[in-house]
């Protein structure tokens, strides 16, 4: 298969305007454009739909309120009252990933969440923030997080390293989960799109039907991964408050 038709070609980054700052290449790329579109969609939607501030909401206002309540409920269920302070962050994270995924579902649109560097950066912000939060809340006692009470003492040499590794692998699992899902979904769509073109006569209809079904599934996954990202962030915040 020629590189031109590779299903991974869609993930290539193309600079739109070349910018350099302090010797670093910070070109505005198609990835940055997708982020810009995402941020514009979110801010405009949440601002315009709630503009009337009506007591009886319009349909669009209701969507904004439902999203608000969805994340507020998620936070209060997992973290409790402490979680209210992190609501703007978790909400922004959820909306950014969700709309980023959804924008990526538009044909020919770039999906920035399919880039490991982006998802890893988001996960790293969560990981570093939660770790700092844990140290602020518990000081040096935060290390008891790796000590599991109620386990026979001779198990600790085994369990504590496992706990430490599992804690340190959080940003990796969080970022790879989102990245891999997006990568796999879009690659699969592209592969089947290639079948539609290359199969003889009308048999291309079958992969086309598959693409239609897969698009529905991908939209579901787009939502689901944003939800998973948000709920895991909530759980990590909760861990920073409540050690074992």
């Amino acid at each position: 298969m020629a590189a031109k038709d590779s299903p991974l070609k869609q993930f290539e980054i193309n600079p739109i305007s070349n910018i350099e700052l302090g010797g670093y290449n910070i070109s505005f790329t198609n990835s940055s454009l997708a982020m810009l579109i995402t941020v514009l969609v979110i801010t405009l939607f949440l601002t315009l739909t709630v503009n009337t501030r009506s007591i009886i909401p319009s349909r669009m206002q209701l969507i904004s309120e439902l999203m608000y309540n969805f994340i507020a409920q998620l936070l209060s269920d997992t973290v409790g009252d402490n979680g209210k302070r992190y609501f703007p962050f978790v909400f922004s994270l959820f909306m950014f990933v969700l709309i980023g995924n959804m924008v990526g579902m538009i044909p020919y649109q770039f999906t920035f969440t399919s880039h490991i560097i982006v998802t890893f950066a988001l996960a790293a912000v969560v990981f570093i923030g939660v770790t700092i939060l844990g140290f602020i809340n518990h000081g040096i006692k935060f290390f008891t997080f790796f000590y599991i009470p109620g386990v026979p003492f001779y198990m600790h040499p085994l369990l504590i390293p496992i706990e430490v590794i599992s804690y340190l692998s959080r940003p990796i699992s969080l970022s790879v989960r989102l990245f891999a899902n997006m990568l796999a979904g879009h690659t699969l769509l592209k592969v089947f799109a290639g079948f539609v073109v290359s199969m003889p006569f009308f048999t291309g209809v079958f992969p086309l039907a598959f693409i239609v079904a897969l698009t529905g599934l991908e939209i579901l996954i787009a939502f689901l991964q944003a939800y998973v990202f948000a709920i895991l962030t909530c759980l990590y915040i909760n861990d920073a408050y409540h050690l074992h």
Binding site: Y24, N25, I117
Partner: protein
């Protein structure tokens, strides 16, 4: 795999930081407070409506109680009035009856007196008649004129035996 090409890592991170911080600050400062305000407003409106509904319900119940009280009072008044009227009517009737009784008694006693007087008068007349008849009979049968005093004497002597 383009994802592992570090050429645009810095660019991606830079723009991610720019756009995500903008999004976070914008939502935190503008959008979310607006939505929160709307939700709060709705909640307070609902609470207000509920409390005013409760108040109105209480007022309605108070009014109902008042109405019931008034109805009960009116019923009591009516029955009292009825009792009073009945007793006053009874009094009147009994007083009138007693007056009537008295009048009747008077009339009866008067009539009795009249009757007695009449009888006495009649008895007196009977005596005279007897005298006259006796006189007439004696003069016709034996041609003797008797004086009244004789006849009375005789009658009196006879009356003694009769009575």
């Amino acid at each position: 795999m383009p994802q592992l090409n570090p050429e645009f890592f810095i660019s991606q991170l830079f723009w991610l930081a720019v756009f995500f911080s903008f999004l976070l600050i914008f939502l935190w400062r503008v959008s979310l407070p607006r939505i929160a305000k709307v939700l709060e407003k709705r909640q307070s409106k609902i609470d207000d409506d509920l409390s005013s509904a409760k108040e109105l319900q209480e007022q309605a119940q108070q009014i109902e109680r008042n109405i019931n009280d008034q109805i009960n009072k009116a019923k009591e008044n009516a029955s009292e009035e009825l009792k009073k009227t009945i007793s006053s009517l009874q009094d009147e009737v009994s007083s009138k009856l007693s007056i009537l009784d008295k009048e009747l008694e008077e009339k009866v006693s008067k009539s009795e007196k009249d009757i007695l007087k009449n009888r006495d008068d009649q008895i007196k007349n009977i005596d005279e008649e007897i005298i006259n008849i006796t006189k007439l009979t004696v003069s016709k049968i034996i041609n003797v004129d008797l004086s009244d005093s004789d006849i009375i004497k005789t009658i009196k002597s006879q009356k003694g035996t009769l009575n």
